[in-house]
Symmetry: C2
Subunit: 672 residues, 2 copies
């Protein structure tokens, strides 16, 4: 049965027409699907900009995060048919889990971060307030708002589901609509997952569209408010980023390119150490998982020259035991490449590497596997290179399959120099138990790699693997890796938003960010703010307490009661010798405690608990006889669930001269 892959444009499914292409199963070589798009790209871009964008921007970050969570749950419950389709891409069950469960998990993480790290609002506050004037009447603040264009996602063939979802999650969270263009080779799986997203009805109209087939002149229609996010080869990336229209409009172009990632066996990780064993396992896993078709796969294995033979032997032993074949068979450990074309390309690249390195495992001509002659199977190929300084191809030619090259190093500087020869990569790993070696590596190599992965006996089973990008961390890298960044938590959301510096008075900044900015108008009210429910409480509601004098007896009593007999509180002469104190002073904790005594409203009410305190600074010492009072202002609110939410209060404790002696942010949990 041949699947017909439809596009989804301006809210309608569009069947293939015009030049139709046949897609083949990676396992059997039979036609599995056909696609070919004749789409009105101008209308698609317009639909995204005028329908999808405004709808998404009307929702808060929390609304969007909730949609992502619902979508992730919807996909999670329906993922079985996706596994079936995934086998035909050559993927084993574990390979498919990286793709399908990994993609859904990424959505869950963005949903969670959106709720925890972004406000329930449409404006994101970036970084701290900047004091631009002495008097405080003019302040600066960075904010971020949704781009008003469309994100075009151009995805790679190797992870059709993960690749789509890891881009969609931050884009939707940013409030930006997307047009998804999957790689044709495995588009049947991407289309099936995309169809579920549409069928869920969770996203607003225009939020997502899908191109099954060529992207035609889509990029020529983009402008300054649009974004192109690309994953794939350096060649294709270069062609796309050279588009004159994108260059003329400074259109954002985020590229995540396949790179020649390296792993280093630390100088301390001799054969026999736990690090050596973990290293061998990890290299084997990276060569065989997804048949080596990962943008993060280990292409270069950099080891102390003295251990090179031992490493080659240990990896080869594991490779020899690896069962290659039909990914549906449970015994299979490595499936097929995505297509015959892909296999040809890998073999051609491996032949180039073979001119500078020795093939120590595998056979360049052994392609058939277990009698399946038509599938895109290939034996793993391990090379060993005697002259890694002189050789070029091992650092520059990427065979995007189960191919890796072992090379020796003299010392860590040499190892780092070899790793950096890749010209920029997504990830490099180092197996060491020595923190000093790790630090040295970060300084020598950090600038060349988007991620540095350190594994050893301590990380044990919790380590997530050299090849696994995580939604919490940036994925991307300089140079050959494309110079871009994806994910990285909220950083990844910012790629679809514009950062803007805003300058103005405290009231204006308060009005924009809907938080109480220092110096902005506050409302001194008769009613105690602790009597207001979460929903009733207005930002700016302020309480000013009575004063309380702090006596020497209070200080001495507090010292005795708590056991805190620090000399600055107890010994006049020693205290006066301290550069910060005029003589004996009150304990900071005594001030906090008295302040609470002044502002707390004792009877049961909406305030359920004081759950924390941030940014406390003691600004000026309080001497016996000083009188303190407190000013408390509702600064920010954040709903946590249906029943209660967090309120952040600005607290200023002042003395009889009106000077601030302590300032902090108080956190309470308030009932709705």
């Amino acid at each position: 049965m041949t699947l017909t892959l439809n596009s989804f444009a301006a809210g309608k499914w569009i069947a293939p027409s015009g030049r139709i292409s046949q897609l083949k199963s990676a396992v059997t070589g039979e036609t599995i699907a056909e696609l070919g798009a004749e789409l009105d790209f101008a209308a698609m871009v317009d639909h995204a900009r005028t329908v999808g964008g405004p709808a998404l921007r009307g929702l808060t970050f929390h609304d969007r995060a909730r949609m992502l969570k619902a979508l992730a749950q919807y996909l999670h419950e329906r993922r079985d048919p996706l596994y079936e389709l995934s086998y035909e891409t050559g993927a084993t069950k574990p390979d498919s889990m990286i793709d399908i469960d990994g993609g859904i998990g990424t959505m869950f993480v963005f949903a969670s971060k959106g709720r925890r790290e972004m406000p329930d609002d449409t404006i994101y506050v970036d970084g701290a307030l900047e004091q631009l004037s002495r008097g405080g009447s003019f302040l600066g603040q960075h904010v971020a708002t949704s781009l008003q264009g469309v994100a075009v996602h151009i995805n790679a063939f190797n992870f059709p589901v993960w690749g789509m979802l890891e881009k969609l999650a931050p884009t939707i969270l940013a409030g930006v609509p997307a047009i998804v263009k999957p790689a044709s080779a495995t588009a049947w799986l991407a289309e099936a997952a995309f169809r579920m997203i549409v069928e869920s009805g969770i996203l607003p109209d225009g939020a997502v569209q899908f191109v099954a087939g060529s992207a035609g002149d889509l990029l020529d229609r983009l402008g300054a408010q649009d974004v192109v996010s690309f994953t794939g080869s350096a060649e294709t990336a270069l062609m796309l980023r050279s588009n004159p229209r994108l260059l003329a409009n400074s259109t954002r172009f985020i590229a995540e390119q396949d790179s020649l990632n390296a792993t280093i066996l630390g100088p301390d990780a001799a054969p026999g150490t736990p690090e050596f064993d973990t290293f061998v396992k990890e290299v084997h896993r990276e060569v065989t998982a997804k048949a080596g078709q990962k943008c993060t796969a280990i292409r270069r294995v950099i080891v102390p020259e003295a251990y090179r033979d031992a490493v080659v032997e240990a990896i080869s032993k594991r490779l020899a035991k690896t069962v290659i074949g039909n990914p549906r068979d449970e015994a299979t450990r490595m499936g097929a490449l995505a297509s015959l074309t892909q296999r040809e390309d890998v073999i051609a690249k491996a032949r180039i590497i073979a001119t500078e390195a020795d093939l120590v495992f595998g056979d360049l001509d052994a392609t058939g596997t277990n009698g399946i002659e038509k599938g895109a199977f290939l034996s793993p190929l391990l090379f060993s290179c005697n002259d890694p300084d002189g050789a070029r191809s091992i650092h520059e030619v990427e065979a995007f399959g189960p191919v890796s090259t072992v090379m020796g190093y003299r010392d860590m500087d040499h190892a780092a120099a070899l790793a950096n020869r890749g010209g920029g990569s997504l990830v490099a790993s180092l197996f060491t138990h020595d923190p000093a070696v790790a630090r040295k590596a970060v300084l020598a190599m950090g600038a060349h790699h988007g991620r540095l992965y350190f594994a050893n006996r301590d990380t044990g089973k919790e380590a997530t693997g050299h090849g696994s990008p995580l939604p919490h961390l940036v994925h991307g890298g300089p140079g050959r890796a494309g110079g871009g960044e994806e994910m990285g938590g909220i950083r990844g959301v910012m790629h679809y938003m514009q950062r803007t510096a805003i300058q103005g008075s405290p009231d204006i900044l308060s009005g924009i960010t809907r938080t109480c900015v220092q110096g902005s108008k506050t409302a001194l009210k008769e009613v105690h703010p602790f009597r207001m429910s979460f929903n009733e409480l207005e930002i700016g509601h302020t309480l000013e307490t009575q004063a309380r004098t702090v006596s020497l007896a209070d200080i001495e009593h507090f010292a005795e009661f708590t056991g805190d007999n620090f000399y600055a509180h107890m010994d006049e002469e020693a205290a006066a010798a301290n550069p910060f104190f005029p003589g004996r002073v009150a304990h900071g904790y005594l001030l906090l405690s008295f302040a609470a005594g002044l502002f707390v409203d004792p009877a049961p009410g909406p305030v359920l608990a004081n759950y924390g305190l941030d940014n406390l600074r003691f600004m000026k010492p309080v001497s016996p006889g000083d009188a303190i009072k407190v000013r408390l202002t509702a600064k920010d609110k954040k709903a946590r669930n249906e029943e209660y939410g967090e309120v952040r209060w600005d607290v200023a404790v002042t003395n009889q001269d009106g000077e601030i002696v302590a300032a902090y942010e108080l956190l309470t949990m308030n009932a709705m």
Copy 2:
């Protein structure tokens, strides 16, 4: 006298040779300087990468910040001759202050931020620790390290000193060497300031080089570790960013392009309001300051249609009183354009605008001023446009001189749409006293502008002006503004560093960042850590205290003493009804106070003061009869001056079951 402008390459001054160009005074039209470089660009790039880069990377952020401060002081003391040279660029004294003092001030701000917001180390820690595993043995953290290449700075002619220093400051702070290429038209001023930098001897060899003349094939020699920072026109930017070598290497290209910046008179700012008056003054200032040759100057004046005539009249009145002439004359308010070529270009562009808008002030043919026929003088030109929706040139053609167009709007949505017609700008301003109008503007316009400036009666004299980029805030913008960002405090430093995600065990992460990461090895020592001086204290030094039981009597006594009689501490039944408490519980401040009583070492010693507390969270209630103890670990150190420094301690308060009841970071000031 004709100045000979030298280049500074690989540590040597190089006199002009080959094709030599003559530079003319903007005021007199006489030749003032000559330049022409025949430089070995390969050797310059190599010198930066192999000499300057390693030298700078060997210094910590604090070391580099101290160099910037020293350099700023050095230039500040020697700035008088720079003013002299600046007159010849057509700049008045106030114009020169923006350029010279503004540039020096930017260096001071970066010096200060480098010390306050970056560590005394070579690795910058970016953002929070990411918990990647349940057990805590595998964590993630983003760090940034210096790029290992060279930054090529291509500067604009209008602010030769500020333009050079605002790029050099973050570059040097990042630990990256720079090659400075000033615009030829005003290169004599840039060369004089650069010469002072070299003569100061403050920067290490190879940190800075200077190209007086054409940059030749310099960009063709750059790679993945290099950065190009450009300020100037969109046309030149497009040519440079299309360089195939830069595209193929994903070389970072930061462009700050002249844009058609807008200002909006708020709907509430009717004639007679303070906002109206401030608005008129600001437009006048932006049209005339630096003869309108500012990348941030107001090109489009967007006002309520009903007030358009009043605005035109008020601005024209001020323009009529503006004295144009020799910038050395004290009466002069507006000097000359930078060159005759520049004036020709401005007039040509103004003639295009004149096809769609009416010239309401000025004369396109009146170029001579006060008898100085050879200078590049031009009268201010004010246009008024009747059809701003239909017109294109007013939104797309930039006359880079004293030229601006007034247009009317119907409502704020229309005003925002007109402002956004610029296709991306560096800054837009809005004069309003209404925070709701400001918020609406941020949502409607934020995505199109790098900075939004709000002025009104409250910002008064402290407001820094529509046209002033500040080192604390990002300077740049989407689309026509180049899609880049400069400055913005530490954000600007990051443009010259690579962000890398690091993953590993707590010990490995601690070793890399030199702070104590949760879960990393700590050293439980006999000696109390409060007995160690700042220098002696080792990160990881840990104290574990005895336990103390919290009795009901303690709670009641504390309530009475402090006055904090919150029901959760005092009323068993009401407390039990609270969703967070099992019954009566201890006050959070009681726990903090008892904790201090447990860990404080009373006698005078290196710990001078507890100056604050961060990230306090109460994790679990403490009931009467529970016994608490404290674990205190030195987490991070930061020298403040020669005598003392700040120490950050991780504090965990646990109960008798080992559960954490409160966690926070304690800040102390410790003597060296």
